[in-house]
């Protein structure tokens, strides 16, 4: 973990209110893993907001230093990627950063997704803005394919509506990372709440249906990232089917490093777990999701 001023390389819209951020990654800093996050402090905020805390964002991809076909010609360093939704003053401020500007980053933070075992098939479920970590995980697994065996995985992505699916026609982002994401999106099983594209229903509805017709001999290992209610039903689903499951959780943060005990969620074992330091990736049954939704 380190605090550094990162050069912004890409910061552009990939869907209504969604942005793709890429920044230079320092040499000698361990590469981030899918599920890990960083906290960022934009330089300027809108007058009147009074925002001052860092904002946590998950990594959505990483390009190591040696890579040839790079997302940006502006650097020969490694490049970290994130996908974020413009929601409030902090993300609005971040969206104002142009390539070439600097952001204050602390990274990498938290625990990533554990890789599936060889005998497991990874079912990677993302809902809405939970897309970043799951795209990263899928990309990592597809890369691994060339090294050790061939990890089997299925990406399942849920959106409210077809028009909110990022990186579709109209997105000007043609960086290699965006290209990789588009490939993954093309392979993914898509669901929409309103049925405007793909399966009509939630990601977890889709899982039931997928499970019924799954021909694979491998055990499922669920990976989830998305809104609280989605994670809650994912955990329920995993429990009912006795499937290993890991979820990436969210909670408001202050320090982001485990010091303040502010970002807790209720643990099933009693007490609380810190999202930033004990998570953000938890075994699905570690968190009392129902209580956390209240």
């Amino acid at each position: 973990m380190r605090q550094f001023n990162a050069l912004v390389l890409i910061n552009e819209a990939i869907a209504p209110t969604w942005m793709h951020l890429a920044f230079e990654w320092p040499s000698n800093l361990p590469a981030p893993r899918a599920g890990q996050f960083f906290t960022v402090l934009p330089a300027m905020v809108e007058l009147g907001a009074g925002t001052m805390l860092r904002r946590p964002l998950a990594f959505a991809g990483f390009e190591p230093e040696e890579r040839q076909n790079r997302a940006s010609a502006a650097t020969d360093k490694a490049i970290a990627h994130s996908i974020y939704q413009v929601r409030g003053p902090g993300t609005r401020a971040l969206a104002c950063h142009v390539p070439g500007s600097l952001i204050d980053v602390i990274a990498p933070l938290g625990n990533g997704f554990p890789p599936p075992l060889l005998e497991e098939k990874a079912i990677i479920a993302g809902g809405g803005i939970g897309i970043g970590p799951v795209l990263f995980l899928a990309a990592s697994l597809s890369k691994e394919a060339s090294r050790r065996g061939k990890p089997e995985f299925q990406l399942v992505l849920g959106f409210r509506s077809a028009s909110l699916i990022p990186l579709r026609a109209g997105s000007a982002d043609d960086s290699p990372m965006a290209f990789l994401w588009k490939e993954l999106l093309a392979q993914a099983f898509l669901t929409t709440d309103d049925g405007s594209e793909g399966f009509r229903g939630t990601v977890v509805d889709a899982l039931s249906s997928l499970r019924d017709r799954d021909g694979s001999s491998k055990e499922w290992h669920l990976y989830g990232c998305g809104p609280g209610p989605m994670l809650a039903s994912l955990a329920k689903f995993a429990d009912a089917h006795h499937i290993a499951a890991h979820c990436s959780a969210e909670q408001w943060m202050a320090c982001g490093v485990g010091a303040c005990h502010g970002c807790v969620l209720p643990a099933t074992s009693g007490g609380f777990l810190r999202v930033c330091a004990d998570g953000p990736v938890f075994e699905a049954n570690q968190i009392d999701w129902e209580a956390s939704l209240q």
């Binding site: 001052m52 805390l53 303040c260 005990h261 970002c263 007490g271």
Partner: protein, 325 residues
Amino acid sequence: MNGQDTKRTPSLDLDLSVRIGQLVMSNPVGVASGTFGYGEEYDELVHIDALGALYTKAVTLEPRQGNPAPRLVETPMGLINSIGLANPGVERFLQEKLPLLRRRRCAVIVNVAGSTEDEYAAVIERIEDHLAAIGPRQEERCGVDGYEINVSCPNVHRGGMSFGIDPVLIERLTRSLKGRTARPLILKLSPNVTDIADIARAAEAGGADAISCINTVIGMVIDTEKLRPAIARGTGGLSGPAIRPIGVAATYRVSRAVHIPVIGLGGIARADDAIQYLLAGAQAVQIGTALFSNPRTPHEVLEGIVGWMRRHAVQRVRDIRLMLQ
């Protein structure tokens, strides 16, 4: 890391040291209780040995899980928290946290909280017994250079807040704790009172070696979509730059009411903020919430104080409080 830069700054000609009772801190900039854990989590980001002091997260007699989630909400230039003294309790503190704290080169002040006078006393007694039992070890510091008594946490029903508003109870508590340790005893006061100088005088009368001023201000945010308070417990403690003017005013009042040193805190994010506290009468400062935005804050603040002292030709940091006109 920035901390190392600070070490390189030649400030040999300046006297940055601060005296709290028998304790000498190498410089006036500490990190505030509850925002720095027990010094583990920030290890990779902050050069801890270069701090003047590390004030630990509160330690209570029994372990506490703390308050339900959510515990945090941001406000305009502020933060409301309702952590609720989540901590492993004094036993696990001694077993798990103290060994690492002994290796720190900065002063370590243990923040103590309780629901009753006896609980406070029991925490200190347990720590003193433990320290006496293990005795001094070579190349290690003691790990506990003093106590900061939190009589002001707004986030627990019985977290000492009733002490924090009553001068009589404060004086009695201070006297009782003073009898149990030779280490400096710092009383940390709440701003949520009509007259904080009254409370400070009571602490001094009870034998306190110093006053920390201020803890958080009672505040509340309501989530207008969910139609409920943004943090689970309803109200919480407001900290950060928003409360700096409140802390400076309190420090100004308190340092004119007592003769013991005052340690100023509340919303310090830049050197100028810290210097305001020092001019208001504080001998030392603590940095809490600003760490969350920028972990380099303590070192940047210390560098800024050094630069200011040079520009104003001040030799000793403890003379700054005499400079207000």
